[in-house]
Symmetry: C2
Subunit: 473 residues, 2 copies
């Protein structure tokens, strides 16, 4: 066992991240390159995120379906940009059923090609449109520099795929789903984000446009939280996806796709965690309230335990409550454990509290207060709400203090490289200028709808609009 204390979060954020994941039992290294086991506590967080998003996906008119894991290799090569983008990351099945396959099968890195093949079968008339499908699935993109949740060879996600009669409808769909994602991460994960378009070189291989939403981690690096794409009609053409339009002519539909992944769990850990461990936003925490009875060995603890149990049942109707009545551990060890796991609120009940008909309520951000037993439920409700807001505000402050405006890369490059953060600057949209960012381990994160700067951050050409640049995970 490694020592109980977490690495210094200020001095070695990367090490802290790795250790908090191990100690809070969120994930564990698997015996396959770049793969991780998501342990029960990590899975519960993902299931909570999934539940919120799945509900919204259905409410916005999409239906879930399940497509095959394996894709004929020839499918991937049908769209030139797509194959170029994904080839280096593919895992390939060459043998199955005891024989060499005639055509190798690729483990899906994403399902555009498979789903478009099926769309071509299903979409015959404009009456079949729009077609709005979502899939919850595992995908594989072989990873050379793995990091739990953030960058893994296998990951879990949802991928939405839709087809529409007009380019305008497709654009509406892609931006609507971007908005849904932004609401999810801001309202539930308490992570403020900036959203906008990716540059030509950073967009999805095969997309006309990619919308992204990006968060700023406390260490100054950006995380791409998810993306929503207008897919090139090349895909529709490659798969012969013709249908009869309202005018009776053959036409190709306009396509979108959009995805978000288990990476969200990684961003959640980084965004809110502190020296004691995880800090989970109440709306997404698997356990919102933990009750720790202050019991003593070789004493009659039944009065305390009875009240703790009653409280668990009462609060359990409104909140996700866990009663930690393990009598082999001290209250101190339990405080440590549940703080490490980021449980938003802890209730302590001891014999003296009982006499005074009160309990102690401690929130994960350090507030501690005695509350009359009768008021516990309403107090908890207020505490959870306040904590959700506080976490978002704190993260927003981090975003704002890490957001700088600067004119020339030559001026801000070194500081960006050292300290991180978002730099808002001007850009001529020339990919050669974009490449210069690499010298400072940075890249463009998203195009902004503003124009503060007259010239490009690199050359002397006019800026086409502001861009956000940063180092990233």
């Amino acid at each position: 066992m490694s020592s109980k204390k977490l690495p210094d979060i200020e001095k070695d954020f990367a090490k802290w991240y790795q250790e908090v994941i191990a100690k809070a039992e969120l994930a564990d290294q698997a015996p396959v390159r770049g793969c991780f086991v998501i342990r029960p506590y990590g899975t519960m967080i993902w299931e909570n995120i999934k539940a919120v998003l799945d509900k919204r996906i259905k409410e916005t008119g999409h239906q879930n379906a399940l497509f095959p894991l394996l894709i004929p290799q020839s499918f991937i090569t049908k769209e030139a940009e797509h194959v170029e983008g994904f080839s280096p990351e593919l895992a390939v099945v060459t043998h199955a059923g005891g024989k060499k396959l005639e055509e190798p099968l690729v483990v899906r890195p994403t399902s555009e090609t498979m789903i478009h093949f099926m769309f071509a079968k299903w979409i015959k008339s404009w009456r079949d449109l729009p077609m709005k499908i979502n899939q919850w699935a595992n995908v594989i993109r072989w990873e050379m520099r793995p990091r739990a949740f953030i960058r893994t060879s296998e990951f879990f996600w949802q991928e939405g795929h839709t087809a529409h009669e007009t380019a305008q409808e497709a654009e509406q769909e892609a931006t609507m789903m971007l908005r849904e994602y932004v609401n999810l991460v801001q309202d539930y994960l308490a992570i403020p984000v900036v959203h906008g378009m990716k540059s030509e070189s950073e967009k999805f291989p095969g997309a006309d446009k990619t919308f992204t939403f990006e968060a700023m981690m406390p260490d100054g690096k950006a995380v791409q939280m998810g993306t929503s794409h207008i897919i090139s009609q090349n895909f529709a053409k490659a798969f012969g996806m013709t249908y009869q339009n309202r005018e009776g002519q053959l036409a190709y539909p306009y396509l979108t796709s959009w995805g978000s992944t288990t990476r969200l769990v990684g961003a959640l850990i980084m965004m809110h965690g502190d020296q004691k461990g995880l800090v989970l936003p109440p709306k997404i925490a698997p356990i919102q309230v933990v009750i720790v009875p202050i019991i003593k060995k070789d004493s009659d603890n039944s009065a305390v335990l009875n009240v703790a149990d009653d409280l668990k049942n009462t609060l359990g109707e409104k909140f996700a409550v866990f009663l930690d009545d393990d009598d082999t551990k001290t209250p101190g060890a339990k405080f440590y454990k549940w703080e490490l796991r980021g449980v938003p609120v802890r209730i302590e009940i001891g014999p003296r509290d009982l006499e005074e008909k009160k309990v102690v309520v401690a929130d994960r951000l350090g507030e501690k207060i005695a509350v009359p037993l009768d008021d516990v439920a309403s107090h908890i409700e207020k505490t959870l709400e306040a904590m959700q807001t506080k976490l978002f505000e704190r993260a927003k402050q981090n975003l704002e203090s890490n957001w700088k405006k600067a004119e020339k890369l030559a001026g801000f490059g070194k500081t960006l490289s050292k300290e991180g953060g978002f730099y808002q600057t001007g850009w001529c949209h020339n990919p050669e200028c974009e490449k210069e960012l690499k010298k400072f381990q940075a890249m463009t994160r998203c195009l902004l709808d503003e124009k503060t700067f007259e010239v490009c951050f690199n050359c002397e050409k006019p800026s086409k609009g502001d861009v956000l640049v940063a180092k990233s995970y």
Copy 2:
């Protein structure tokens, strides 16, 4: 398009099954051998089954986790029976990230080996036991004779894996989960089952004991609905899964695993369907009530549509309701569509009904009755309950009428081969006698806790107990 009528369910059940799946848009052939796309309507059914089972899995003390899809080939070969059982069905990744892998990776056919590897890491002391994990996942077992839902190269399932201090606890776990499965399929899917142990030759490769639960389809073939295993301690030994027991000595835990799959959807289709299409048990139906307003082209339908909409909102609070107000289709076409899709109850509302303040309620089994508007909700509730019971009773009758007792294979073999059904008979437990069943396309399905027969169905040795034999999917 193929003709609108389904193939004769009595004369060609296999063809009917294939067509009803296509026409009701449950699944579609994928462009990969043995794989199917599960379309939205099929996915909704699977999601409903998942939700019920997932709740019970959690309530019985298990936690979900996510393990890697790919397993090092050497893991599979660690347990001799396991590798022998699964080798012919494996899909193998030999290349990834643009390179040939040093060791091939197998796409999981089941996750015992991966999960046991992790258990060996996690289980150090008796305090870590029991460890009770479940995973919802996709698996691949290469399939030569695919059939949608019932037998597919890729399928979806949950696999539970647990470790215990004693053999007795492991047995309790395996039988508890068998009981949970039986409750699921009987109470929700309305499918009566028989349960018991598999014979030595039919058990899971690497299990000491396999418990199975089996259903009888209307065509006389059995379907294995799921299994629960006591896993051989060979696995614990192969993965060095030692822990310190209560006596301070090193010991190996006792293991179980148990799984149920998307095959349940296939059994559901076969069990209850009729000449008009699917018949879905109300407790698992994605749409429980469809409202069809009887509207006419070029008329003012607003009164009818308003009442239909109100009804949708009222009923929607208690039931899964769909209002089919598509004005391009006739009521008749809608009746056909929703009968094909097995919606338990249809409500018809026309202008004349409105005058009389009533609606027509038709259930999927053919009952049709006029109901005063004010009584609709309570009537629907009773109808759905009655239908759930009726479907189970009907299926139970099918099971009973297909269950025969007979002494000698020589006597019943030909009839079994022709007509199907369960045959209860005696068996000496010799695998050589069991092999004789193959001549009649039959096999042992499960051992029964009875002893009706004195001698084996094949030889003259004494029977060790009754066995159920049948043809199967």
